[in-house]
């Protein structure tokens, strides 16, 4: 079996704090975009529904060019005059959400409609006649700001992840400080084993990434599509990003479905066992066991070696023993059962030196057709032989 190496990138000092700050920035930025690009303009649009329709004359209209680092953007500038009440006024607001984009053609079309000297209709605020607008219809541009909600969602998940990670790592640090390098003696009584990891963490992780990726990709695509008549190269360029985004969405659903998988519950007749002894392992499926087509339980011994160089920490793992305990497709056997496990006598007991460990685990795997598989590992303590009986 290949030695598996997992690089655990060092988290800089205050990692949890950075997650809160990072998540907070995303939430703030997302809310800011949502407000500025959608909510505020929509509120103005609703208000403008009650404004008075008023004839106006276009005094000046042209396409404005805005120079930027990534190229020029364009917007339509239209200045018009109108009379309202006893006064004469001027306005230059086309609608409440129009922004400069990369498509000159789109804005030229608007300028062509509102050519200088032509007459048009504007809508005037009766309470403040100096406020007016040419267009007050709902367009897709008003929903651009909803992209910001993706960043809000991502930011919230990052913050939640930081909270979750902080509490679990604190618990681990505390237990590491309390624990000696040697494991404790065996206990009596049936023990339900705890799984090593859950599907919730995987779901949160991929969801965060998918939200950020699709938020950015969506914003760019929206900008391209709202311009209309854009070069083919822009679509070709964005295609791989969109495809990745679609795959990520698929991954989110896959992991979401995984959260509703049947759960495997393992229990043993004692919390730890000596080498060479027999233990009784019981399993049961919580949820719909009928969905599991094949089911396998193994007992594995792992060498785990951790090393730090520079600012990275790596953990390498090697399985030195695999004992097959169950491999079945029988429905009744899958749903629940019991097996006697003989712990090898000539082997190494559980050991934790800090950087180097010998870990024993029960590994379960259940195949489900067209659905994420059920899988998890359960650590189990193997004690040394009862030395008074040997040598």
């Amino acid at each position: 079996m290949a030695i598996q190496s997992k690089a655990i990138k060092n988290k800089s000092v205050g990692g949890r704090g950075c997650m809160f700050i990072f998540g907070g920035i995303f939430v703030a930025a997302g809310l800011g975009v949502f407000w500025a690009a959608s909510i505020a303009p929509l509120m103005q649009l609703i208000d403008a529904r009650s404004w008075d329709e008023t004839p106006c004359v276009v005094e000046e209209s042209y396409v404005e060019t805005h120079s930027g680092d990534d190229g020029n953007t364009y917007s339509a500038y239209i200045r018009y005059s109108y009379a309202y009440g006893n006064g004469d006024y001027e306005g230059d607001q086309y609608n409440f959400t129009d922004v400069s984009t990369g498509s000159r053609k789109r804005h030229q079309a608007i300028v062509d409609i509102y050519s200088a000297g032509s007459t048009a209709v504007c809508y005037v605020n009766p309470d403040a006649p100096e406020e007016s607008v040419l267009k007050r219809n709902l367009t897709p541009g008003y929903f651009f700001g909803f992209m910001g909600l993706l960043f809000v969602g991502a930011g919230c998940l990052v913050i939640l992840f930081g909270v979750f990670q902080g509490s679990s790592s604190n618990a681990k640090s505390a237990s590491a400080r309390r624990r000696d390098p040697i494991q404790t003696d065996s206990s009596t009584g049936r023990v339900t084993l705890e799984p090593e990891s859950g599907p919730i963490g995987r779901f949160i992780g991929i969801t965060i990434f998918a939200l950020i990726w699709n938020g950015i990709t969506g914003a760019v695509c929206f900008g391209i599509l709202s311009d209309g008549g854009v070069e083919v190269m822009a679509y070709i360029f964005m295609t791989p990003f969109v495809l990745v985004g679609v795959l990520l969405i698929g991954g989110v659903f896959y992991n979401f479905l995984g959260m509703f998988n049947p759960r495997v519950r393992l229990s043993v007749d004692r919390g730890a066992a000596r080498m060479g002894s027999d233990i009784e392992l019981e399993w049961s499926i919580v949820g719909s066991s009928n969905r599991i087509k094949s089911f396998r339980i193994k007992l594995e011994g792992h060498e785990q070696a951790r090393y730090t160089r520079g600012t990275n920490t790596y953990t390498d793992e090697h399985i030195f023993t695999t004992i097959d305990l169950l491999n079945t497709s029988e429905r009744r056997e899958i749903a629940n059962g019991r097996v006697t496990v003989t712990i090898p006598e000539y082997t190494m007991h559980s050991f934790d030196g800090g950087n180097n460990k010998i870990i024993w685990e029960f590994s379960v795997h259940g195949e489900i057709n067209r659905w994420p598989d059920v899988g998890n590992t359960f650590e189990y303590e193997i004690l040394p032989l009862d030395h008074s009986e040997n040598r």
């Binding site: 800089s12 000092v13 205050g14 090393y307 730090t308 520079g310 600012t311």
Partner: protein
């Protein structure tokens, strides 16, 4: 490499105990001369180099050399977190103190300001970074195939000829990261067991 050789953890020539004790090969210089250069730079300098080029190893050797010269040396690695860092920056350093920070480039700008404020009175300050920084360059770690060959000769003189082609392949795969090459050679030897 002989086919009947069994390389377990204690016999593997690339085990950490052998790699950790490799002498650092200073190009055309000695540790004592490096300390002299550090003094010429005003006591502050940076060890610069890409991943796996030996910056941490050199920092550790420099730690020992400065201690030999009578400095009170404090070393901090950015893999440490939380309490260790708070203690590190809250301590008062004096002109007799030498401070080494391994992985300074990974400390964010806000924390870096706290760090340098705390260290401004230290007699000696050396950091390891991947790129040129505000501190003058004390030493530039540059990996090379000839360096890798020298290390192979030190670690596994009997296997040098057999392992060299594989080592060079790993060097190309890992873009000159010698640390990862040595780890890859460990795996290569262990797989023969």
């Amino acid at each position: 490499m002989t086919t009947d050789t069994v390389y377990t953890a204690s016999t593997n020539p690339f085990a950490s105990r052998f790699i950790d004790t490799l002498p650092f090969r200073l190009a055309g210089s000695s540790m004592s001369e490096l300390c002299t250069r550090l003094e010429a730079l005003g006591g502050h300098g940076a060890i610069i180099g890409p991943h796996g080029s030996g910056k941490t190893t050199l920092a550790e050797r420099l730690h020992d050399e400065l201690e030999t010269k009578g400095w009170c040396v404090y070393s901090y690695r950015t893999t440490e977190r939380g309490r260790g860092f708070k203690d590190f920056v809250s301590r008062r350093y004096g002109s007799d103190d030498a401070v080494l920070i391994d992985g300074a480039g990974h400390v964010g700008p806000f924390l870096r300001r706290r760090v340098f404020r705390a260290l401004r009175d230290a007699g000696r300050l050396v950091v390891t970074v991947h790129e040129d920084s505000q501190l003058p360059c004390l030493y530039r770690c540059e990996p090379s195939l000839s360096l890798l060959d020298d290390l192979l000769e030190d670690l596994a003189p009997d296997l040098n000829e057999t392992l060299r082609p594989h080592a060079h392949r790993l060097y190309a795969e890992h873009n000159g990261n010698i640390r990862d090459v040595l780890r890859g050679l460990y795996d290569h030897c262990a797989a023969l067991a």
